[in-house]
């Protein structure tokens, strides 16, 4: 019954977007109420649909669009789980926004754009073909642009918005190229009845007709898109800057919507990735490396939101890592990855909302100025602690279950391929994660205030979502970790996965050996170690950090400058190479050479005219002489030359 209204999941937020944008001022809460209601309805439908397909079956609907393409809805377990998470988290964030944004004059625009953002994300999840997926994907990018640049008067916000759009656009270009190459390979494939070209099911059916090398190309291009959207190395640079928008937007981008789209893309097209010999290895490496790389930067950031941003990048790396281990573990990794995605959505949304609450309550963003806020902001402090525990994978939080599974997957990968690196990345990153998140918590909530501020707890519309999310971050893993994997296993048929693995030349391990006890408990151990280190340094202050935190320390400087990526990406690549050199060379060619030739020709012609008009001296004898010369010349020409035709 709910599934018949599946299209409303996207449509309602879009309606909300249009109405709020143009008539926002006339609605209660400047349109907030509309946004909340529509997203809540979407959540209800999503949840209803999930319950309907829980015991099998998928929802498929499509309408002809143009050419060979349809608009379509596909809700399988993967999509259903994702839908519920997106709509639910978005709903909570919207509720929270009513309080958080209460002083902003541009509320209608805010609610309109967030509605569109949610709609776009839901559209990505619902899509049953890769093109529609891409369209909503781009729409997500657009909304992130609008929302990050929400406070467009701030030059830094406008710049960050542009950067976010452009960097993810680089990934999108790769994704688009992937779709195009995919089309190249399946354009003459006979489409099964009831399906159409570029539909996921057609793609999967066509896997065996595509040469593996092309599959690798396609999947790597797809993964390029995922790297851009999900902030993986090396296209992660936009994500920390995306903090320029309102904190709720950060929460929306980092927890529920945009960044998970990349992971969802890989999960959605997982059979193709599996069928390619090398793609998943790349995914694993990039994911693992990103997890570690981002965590190192998270250690030294002083802006509360920036720490969380790098944490997001790092956690997304984990999700990618999980998917990458699929060459050994098989389709189960989709469940693993998505499980982490959802638990991450809860605790990361919680972290951001807490950070928002802190910023709201303290009026500060710099960790070095905070301290001792726990007394004034109990709810925020405690919920944030829960989120931090979840992030660092301390049992029994959701983060523990999800991250543990991933590291275990990496272990399987290690044992089957002998390649330890992804595992090592995962473990070290887990340690660093624990350190930086507790550093953040301790610096914010313990000790003495380092500046004068008047803290106050946030209003209920903000704290209630915090509490709900905290409960989820705490209990979700415990409640769902068994059922979740089982449910998501229905996403891809076993036959499809086996066939794909065969094409890719992978041997899926039947048995996953349990690691020896020391390794089994290692994730928890490093989590605790991290906590202890942070506690000692930032709460007990037993070390003097000034020797490390100094501009003379090259490693610290490297990290604080974020590996000089701004210099490399913006100043060198964007400004120097693309703008200065390439486009100015083009300008030179255009103005001086191409136009120069044209203007030169006309100048020469005019000059010739100026010169030869002097033949007309005005003296009639000269004219007579010309006549005679003409006669003589014609005579000579005819006697000697002639026949030029």
């Amino acid at each position: 019954m709910f599934q018949d209204f599946a299209y409303l999941i996207v449509l309602l937020p879009i309606i909300s977007f249009v109405l709020t944008l143009f008539f926002g001022k006339k609605f209660p809460a400047n349109g907030g109420i509309l946004a909340i209601l529509t997203i809540f309805t979407a959540f209800i439908i999503s949840a209803g649909t999930l319950s309907e397909i829980y015991h099998g079956g998928v929802v498929e609907q499509s309408w002809h669009w143009f050419a060979f393409l349809d608009f379509g809805i596909l809700i399988d377990p993967l999509a259903a789980a994702m839908l519920c998470m997106v709509s639910f988290v978005s709903f909570l964030i919207q509720v929270y926004s009513v309080g958080y944004m209460s002083h902003d004059p541009a509320k209608p625009r805010y609610f309109a754009e967030t509605s569109l953002f949610t709609a776009a994300m839901l559209g990505v999840v619902l899509s049953d073909n890769i093109l529609q997926f891409f369209m909503f994907w781009e729409l997500v990018g657009l909304c992130s642009y609008l929302l990050i640049g929400f406070w467009y008067r701030k030059p830094s916000a406008a710049a960050a918005a542009k950067k976010a759009f452009l960097v993810t656009r680089v990934g999108d270009v790769l994704f688009l190229a992937g779709i195009i190459v995919l089309y190249l390979n399946i354009s003459d494939f006979t489409v099964p009845d009831g399906a159409y070209l570029l539909q996921f099911q057609t793609m999967f059916a066509a896997i065996e007709h595509i040469p593996p090398s092309q599959l690798t190309l396609i999947t790597l291009l797809f993964f390029g898109g995922a790297v851009g959207k999900s902030g993986q190395f090396p296209l992660h640079v936009w994500l920390p800057d995306a903090m320029e928008g309102p904190t709720t937007v950060s929460a929306l981008i980092h927890a529920a919507t945009m960044v998970t789209a990349g992971v969802y893309l890989v999960a959605r097209t997982f059979p193709i990735f599996l069928a390619s010999p090398d793609a998943l290895i790349v995914v694993a490496y990039i994911g693992g490396f990103t997890a570690l790389f981002a965590a190192t930067m998270g250690l030294v950031m002083n802006d509360i939101k920036r720490v969380l941003a790098y944490s997001t990048v790092s956690q997304l790396g984990y999700m990618m890592l999980a998917l990458g281990t699929g060459i050994v573990v098989g389709a189960e990794v989709v469940g693993m990855s998505l499980f982490h995605l959802i638990s991450h959505a809860f605790f990361k949304a919680l972290l951001f909302l807490c950070a928002g609450s802190v910023i709201h309550g303290l009026g500060l963003q710099d960790l070095r100025q905070m301290g001792g806020a726990l007394g004034k902001m109990k709810i925020t402090g405690i919920t944030m602690l829960i989120a931090a525990l979840a992030l660092s994978g301390i049992p029994p939080t959701a983060g523990f279950f999800s991250k543990d599974a991933i590291i275990e997957g990496a272990y399987s990968y290690w044992t089957h391929t002998g390649d330890i690196l992804p595992y090592a990345f995962g473990i070290i990153a887990a340690l660093l994660t624990s350190i930086y998140i507790f550093r953040l918590w301790f610096m914010t909530f313990t000790g003495e205030p380092r500046t004068d501020y008047h803290a106050h707890e946030s209003p209920p519309s903000m704290t209630v979502p915090l509490v709900i999310l905290a409960i989820l971050a705490l209990g979700f893993g415990l409640a769902a970790h068994g059922a979740f994997g089982g449910f998501l296993e229905h996403t891809y048929s076993e036959h499809l996965i086996e066939e794909a693995a065969e094409i890719g030349g992978h041997h899926l391990a039947e048995e996953h050996p349990h690691p020896p006890p020391i390794l089994f408990y290692l994730p928890i151990i490093v989590g605790v170690i991290g906590f202890v280190i942070s506690w000692l340094i930032y709460s007990k202050r037993i070390f003097n950090m000034s020797s490390i935190i100094s501009s003379r320390n090259p490693i610290y400087r490297l990290l604080l400058n974020r590996y000089y990526q701004h210099q490399i990406y913006t100043e060198f690549v964007a400004i120097t190479i693309v703008h200065r050199v390439l486009s100015l060379i083009g300008e030179f060619i255009d103005r001086r050479i191409i136009d120069g030739i044209i203007d030169g020709i006309s100048w020469i012609l005019i000059m010739i005219g100026e010169v030869i008009r002097r033949i007309q001296t005005g003296v009639v004898q000269h004219y007579a002489a010309w006549v005679v010369m003409g006669v003589v010349a014609l005579m000579l020409f005819l006697f000697h030359g002639g026949g030029i035709l």
């Binding site: 002097r614 007309q616 001296t617 005005g618 003296v619 009639v620 004898q621 007579a624 002489a625």
Partner: protein, 100 residues
């Protein structure tokens, strides 16, 4: 009987003299005279050819042409007089306000 070539040579010489005069002289009157020489060289030709071919067409042509030359000279002098009135000179080298 004088051979045709002699006539042609004479007319050619006359033609060349006329052309030379036209190019080298500055005085308008002389120019007009040179024009007459030019026309007459052609008339000479016509008459000579007429006698050579033994038909009268050339002579008729020459008569017409002489008449036309007379009219032409009249117009030429009329223009020269008008020129002299407005410019006070008939030195054609100086008559060049229209140029380029």
């Amino acid at each position: 009987m004088v051979p045709l070539n002699y006539y042609l040579l004479l007319s050619g010489v006359l033609f060349a003299i006329g052309i030379y005069g036209l190019i080298s002289q500055r005085n308008g009157i002389r120019i007009l005279m040179c024009l007459e020489i030019l026309l007459n060289s052609a008339n000479l030709n016509l008459v000579a050819f007429s006698s050579y071919h033994g038909n009268s067409t050339g002579q008729v042509f020459a008569l017409f042409s002489i008449a036309i030359a007379a009219a032409e000279a009249a117009i030429g002098f009329a223009i020269l007089i008008a020129l002299f009135r407005v410019r006070d000179t008939i030195d054609l080298h100086n008559i060049n306000i229209l140029r380029w």
